[in-house]
Amino acid sequence: MKKNLSFLLLVIFLMLQLSCSKDAPNTTDNAPLLAPNKTDIDAGIWKPVLLTGPTEFPVAAPAAITTPGYIAELNEIKGYQRDLTASQEASIRYWGAGGVLRWNELMRQLVSKYNLPPYQNADGTYPFPSANNPFAYPLFPFANPPYAARAYAYVSAAQYDALVAAWHYKKLYNRPAPYKTDASIKAKLPTSDLPSYPSEDAVLAGVTAEMMKLLFPGEIAFIQQKADEQKLSKIMAGVATRSDIEAGEALGRLVAQKFTTRARADRAGAAAGNQASWTALETNTVARGEIPWISMETPKRPPMLPGFGNVRPFLFDETTTPTLRPGPPPSTSSEQMKKELAEILDFVKNPTPERIRITHFWADGIATPTPPGHWGAIADADFIKQGFSEVRWARNMALLNMAMMDAAIVCWDTKFFYFNPRPSQLNPEIKTLTGLPNFPAYISGHSTFSAAAATILSHIVPSRAKEYDAMAKEASISRMYGGIHYRSDCEKGLETGNKVGAYAVSRAKTDGAD
């Protein structure tokens, strides 16, 4: 009995050594407080995306810091600072890591939440989400990769334009931050010489809340709550007064409206197509003597956003889109296609742990932020270390996200121009190690997105260029390992993505920020 007990105690001791953990924090939970290397005080002259200039929307001159109204605003800050709760301090630190960063993360969260294909109707057709009724199933939107790429681009571009305008007025009015005008106000965040009117954080809150009305109408309440948190955190932190906040939010909302107006007319609304257009894609491909793509889902699901190639790009004119389309894929009846098909069959029949790891690392399938969101997270992780000002961070994200939206446009144009089948359609023996996307194979979306992203990111953070290139290539080949793309899809996708990325680089060289 004694021996048994000591044995048992030994086992319990060993078990405790293996003790289990529940702690899985986000990598950015403790991101450092944003402390830009420079204020970029002249960013008001940077080239906006849509605005005709930084003064397109007027911002009234602020009250002088000697006025009773301003002094009352300082008292509001002091009132908060007398007695900050732990959750208020946490909110200050959360938003203090960077407004652009936090909004990017929230956008990725919304995309993940809404990135679910609708369940079929009883008759085997599929319902489409309705922007007019976002809470009815299927929820609006289905944030698939093209939708997500476009949403990220609009939000980032609008944030950038609004911050360019904000920086113009900051320099023009030169109102110091409250911690500079009153020594008894404590700066709870890193200080700088950047004028505080209008507040850059409120600009971001206003832009993003306004963009939600179009992009995620079911989340307006959630986003408004986040926007209110962000604004209040800056007052409590002593870095902005109530009037700095109000001027910033108003400016942000006005700039966003310019972007939502563009978005409503960019043809994305018609991208889903209809039965006649889906049938035409099939018959046109048959007429060319090729095997057309068919949905491998049961019941057969209409292809994902076949008209997305017609969407108006940001970085080049829409007439340029077809000129970026690569030549045709190997004919479905060619020897080359047989060879490429055999290569994919070999990959799926012999999955190594490393290939499975790579496939899953880059899968970015349903309920994820999609490949553009994955690249956004990669970029943010690097930008955290760069000491960018908010306006520069927004500019760099806008370049990245516009490049990926335009990559989606060119990629989708190519996919639906050639309407090429997936490997599993041509050889049912090919079982996939990741979800099979419901649209044609040529060219690979992952490859196009990733090359476009790597190209512009290499310009922004040149020291990481080699890694970005390696990541893009790994993302690309992950689709072959997963059994859902041929080699030509991936190679041409990378080439095409690089070309789109080059447009972003050329914009970056001339926008006044480099």
Partner: protein
């Protein structure tokens, strides 16, 4: 009566794989009211086939035409060694293969988790016609291959290290018995191959915090040294986790629950001393975020006696006192 129970101890062990649908199968060997006698080692191979075509998406029961029937085939090596009559060490190691009958997804296969238990019987009392015993069982399980838990329902396991602690009572009257046990399973966080995943919010890390789980097991039936026939009811409850959203894939930290009912049979062959055959079957009565699995299995086990001859006699003497 003590003689009957003791003879059961000597010559039988009942090792069964419990299959639990979306939660891939786990070798569960520690869960019955039988102890291996000192220096005896019972081990063998168990085969199990599990399948489902209906599953619970959260609480909504549905099918999926892109999966058809999802099947799991398991072969497990399991063993039970008597350190003493009151203390046993048990283990199980399954190889698992998953497959869907329709759709384009490839199944997965590989060695899953090694489970180890220590089973202690601190109390056993003879009431003349009946015997009552209490047990405490501690276990660990550890993944032994780098399989992915991130492609459910095809993943062969959840890849979480676990600690479990079970309390059990067994009552035998004549050849009839009932066993009741409850277990608490502490589950370690799981590492994925990706750095972004969504539960009810976006997580930017490759680590997933796993909810703990509990299980209640009730079994009753006929038990002699020659034959065991029992009915088994098992309820697995995940203590936390989230529901699969509409038309989403299952995720490792879902709230996976299942209530299962089944039967186990074990027969010790007359011809060969120590050789036994096992058969089992069970069905899922209700569940959440799991497939409604039906399982069938069979196995062959053999007992080796490592007792030095002299000691056996001595032991036989002491057991009589």
């Amino acid at each position: 009566m003590q003689i009957i129970k003791t003879s059961i101890h000597r010559i039988t062990c009942l090792l069964i794989i419990t299959m639990a649908a979306c939660i891939p199968s786990k070798a569960q060997t520690e869960i019955d009211g039988i102890m291996m006698a000192k220096n005896n080692y019972c081990s063998g191979l168990m085969y199990n086939y599990s399948s489902w075509d209906q599953y619970w998406e959260g609480t909504l029961k549905r099918n999926n035409l892109n999966l058809g029937t999802v099947s799991t085939t398991t072969i497990a090596y399991m063993g039970n060694y008597g350190v003493s009559d009151k203390l046993n060490v048990l283990f199980g190691l399954p190889y698992i293969k998953t497959k869907a009958s329709t759709g384009t997804f490839s199944g997965l296969s590989g060695l899953q988790d090694l489970s180890l238990w220590v089973k202690w019987m601190p109390y056993e009392k003879d009431f003349g016609k009946s015997v009552l015993a209490f047990y405490a069982i501690g276990g660990v399980s550890l993944p032994v291959s780098d399989y992915t838990p991130d492609l459910l329902p095809f993943s062969i396991g959840l890849r979480s290290k676990t600690l479990s602690l079970r309390a059990m009572a067994d009552y035998q009257i004549g050849s009839w018995f009932a066993t009741v046990s409850g277990t608490y399973v502490v589950r370690d966080k799981v590492t994925l191959d990706r750095e972004l995943y969504y539960t009810t919010q976006l997580h930017q890390t490759n680590e997933v915090a796993m909810p703990d789980a509990s299980s209640i097991n009730i079994r009753a039936g006929y038990r002699t040294g020659r034959l065991i026939a029992e009915a088994v009811w098992n309820k697995w409850t995940t203590l936390g986790g989230f529901d699969i959203t509409r038309n989403n894939m299952p995720f490792v930290s879902n709230r996976m629950n299942a209530t299962m009912l089944g039967v186990n049979f074990k027969y010790n062959l007359k011809g060969v001393d120590g050789l036994s055959l096992i058969a089992n079957a069970n069905a899922t009565l209700s569940g959440r975020n799991m497939g409604q699995a039906s399982n069938i299995g069979g196995g062959v086990f053999y007992i080796l006696d490592f007792t030095p001859k002299k000691k056996t006699e001595k032991k036989a003497d002491t057991s009589k006192k």
